[in-house]
């Protein structure tokens, strides 16, 4: 988004365009344990936000709240999301009894559902696999079907909960590229939950670090840093984020250790 020219932008500051996602004073708790403790977050249309945080910091809870999947969870606050929201989970979550095509068209009511699904499958590189059963695909292919399923309904907001967490390192890097291409083509607002700092820097326009139910740090990612690990500022951003996550950035003396 052009709305983030590189200067620090406060999470709650009103953006110029009407936001795709608006969260105000979000509180969620499981029993007596408070998981989200007053979160404010805006995501502009077409903006890619990565939500970083250690395990148990509430990042999945926030995503599930935006997806409307937390019926049983107590809490309060105001959430506003667009009409068309897609979710990609860490597991591909394909129905084992339906074909690849059937999985992509799941819940699509338009009469040209099949044609649209074929197009989406071609976009993720799976043209010709429409009739396959999910168990006949590799883990990476299954996750690509899940991406096709999320894109076929042209979401205004894409929620992704560690979508590449279960993939091997090589497949994961390929999937990063695929996701970038898809997002560039469809322009949804994206909220990507991850615990991988490098993944967040490589993909996001803005990185939000969540710590113990509160937003601890918000950092825009300048395009130059996003596209190259050698760019000036990449290493300091990485180090800052790791510090915000409570990790001693020991490997910072070896830049580009995680090459891409």
């Amino acid at each position: 988004m052009a709305a983030h020219p590189g200067g620090l932008t406060a999470a709650a500051s009103a953006p110029a365009a009407p936001s795709a996602v608006s969260v105000r004073k979000l509180v969620r708790s499981f029993g007596t344990k408070s998981v989200l403790d007053g979160v404010d977050l805006d995501i502009a249309p077409g903006e890619f936000v990565a939500l970083l945080g250690p395990s148990g910091c509430g990042k999945s809870t926030l995503l599930r709240a935006l997806a409307g999947l937390d019926h049983e969870v107590r809490g309060g606050g105001v959430i506003s999301v667009p009409d068309r929201v897609s979710v990609v989970f860490q597991d591909s979550r394909l129905l084992p009894w339906d074909t690849v095509l059937g999985n992509v068209t799941l819940g699509v009511r338009e009469h040209d559902a099949d044609a649209r699904a074929r197009k989406a499958l071609a976009e993720v590189g799976l043209a010709g696999r429409e009739k396959a059963w999910p168990h006949q695909l590799s883990g990476g292919e299954q996750q690509r079907v899940a991406l096709a399923r999320s894109l076929v309904r042209e979401p205004q907001l894409l929620l992704a909960d560690e979508p590449f967490g279960a993939l091997d390192a090589l497949t994961r890097i390929r999937m990063h590229g695929l996701l970038q291409d898809l997002v560039a083509a469809h322009r949804p607002a994206v909220l990507l939950v991850t615990h991988d700092v490098d993944e967040a820097i490589a993909l996001a326009d803005r990185i939000v670090v969540l710590d113990r139910g509160r937003i601890a740090t918000v950092r825009p990612v300048p395009p130059a840093i996003r596209s190259s690990a050698d760019a000036a500022g990449h290493e300091s951003l990485r180090r800052d984020l790791l510090t915000a996550l409570g990790v001693e950035a020991a490997r910072t003396t070896e830049p580009a250790a995680v090459g891409r």
Binding site: F89, W97, V108, D181
Partner: protein, 284 residues
């Protein structure tokens, strides 16, 4: 990122030189049953041979168990005078009707009880009670209510059939992964779409398991109702033969029941394989 989008073109042709290569490899312990082979007929055939041999050598007294060829001859006679077909048709009709109603009732109750808490509260308890009562113990009551005509026979079979269908379908339904329910919600499935796309296919393996119990149960119930209170059917034919000491007809009846049972189980398994072709299990 076009590199991602290319799939490797599969299957280079097998190298003819490979045929002459020795194939030496370490063999690990194989825990699965191995490739699927059509050997279901071996056991029954061995049994048949044993029976024939015992009869031919006189080891088996024909008054205890008729010789296989006598049974075949009896079958020929009964088919010629039409008694076998007539009784078989009546038996098959009873079993078929009972099975049909039982499957419908079992499946519908399972859906009602599996999809709503109210349904479960109302339905599950009574079915569990019914399950605790042996189906055949209900026959005296059923005779008092419905007499000894076809209604009572079909109803007895239905009552025996619906319980396994209900239990297994309900278990299958409750076993559907909650993650799929979440998914259905995020893709905006309607209630009907959810049932059609997620619930029914997810419960299908359980349903088929129940169906196989049900088919076996239908034949068991059939034998009982036909031997207690009937003037027709395979069971009646056998009961009559007992009065006259005709082991050949009794054995023929048993053979017919056996063939019917095997046949119906085979049909259910065939449908199951077709309907559940997405499953990858030890059986495949």
């Amino acid at each position: 990122m076009s590199a991602v989008l290319e799939r490797p073109v599969a299957a280079a042709r097998p190298d003819p030189a490979l045929a002459e290569q020795p194939d030496v490899r370490p063999t690990g312990k194989r825990l699965g049953p191995g490739r699927r082979r059509r050997l279901a007929w071996v056991g029954p055939l061995a049994l048949l041979l044993l029976w024939t041999a015992s009869s031919a050598t006189g080891l088996l007294d024909p008054r205890i168990l008729s010789e296989p060829w006598t049974v075949v001859a009896t079958a020929g006679e009964l088919i010629t005078d039409g008694r076998l077909q007539e009784n078989l048709a009546l038996s098959a009709q009873r079993a078929g009707l009972g099975l049909f109603f039982g499957i419908v009732v079992g499946a519908v109750l399972a859906l009602l009880s599996g999809l709503s808490r109210v349904g479960e509260a109302l339905i599950d308890g009574p079915v569990q009670i019914k399950r605790a009562i042996p189906g055949l113990a209900l026959i005296p009551l059923l005779i008092l209510w419905f007499g000894i005509d076809e209604t009572m026979k079909v109803l007895t079979i239905t009552l025996g059939v619906f319980v396994p269908v209900y239990l297994q379908t309900h278990a299958g339904l409750r076993g559907i992964d909650l993650r799929f329910v979440e998914l259905a919600q995020t893709v905006g499935l309607s209630r009907a779409g959810f049932i059609r796309k997620v619930v029914l296919p997810g419960a299908l393996p359980g349903f088929f398991l129940g169906l196989r119990f049900a088919v076996t149960g239908a034949w068991v119930s059939l034998v009982v109702v036909e031997q207690i209170n009937a003037t027709s059917g395979i069971g009646y034919m056998m009961e009559l033969a007992r009065t006259y000491g005709q082991t050949n007809i009794i054995v023929l009846g048993l053979a017919v029941y056996g063939i019917l049972g095997l046949l119906s189980d085979g049909i259910v398994r065939f449908i199951e394989r077709k309907a559940l072709s997405w499953q990858r299990t030890l059986a495949a």
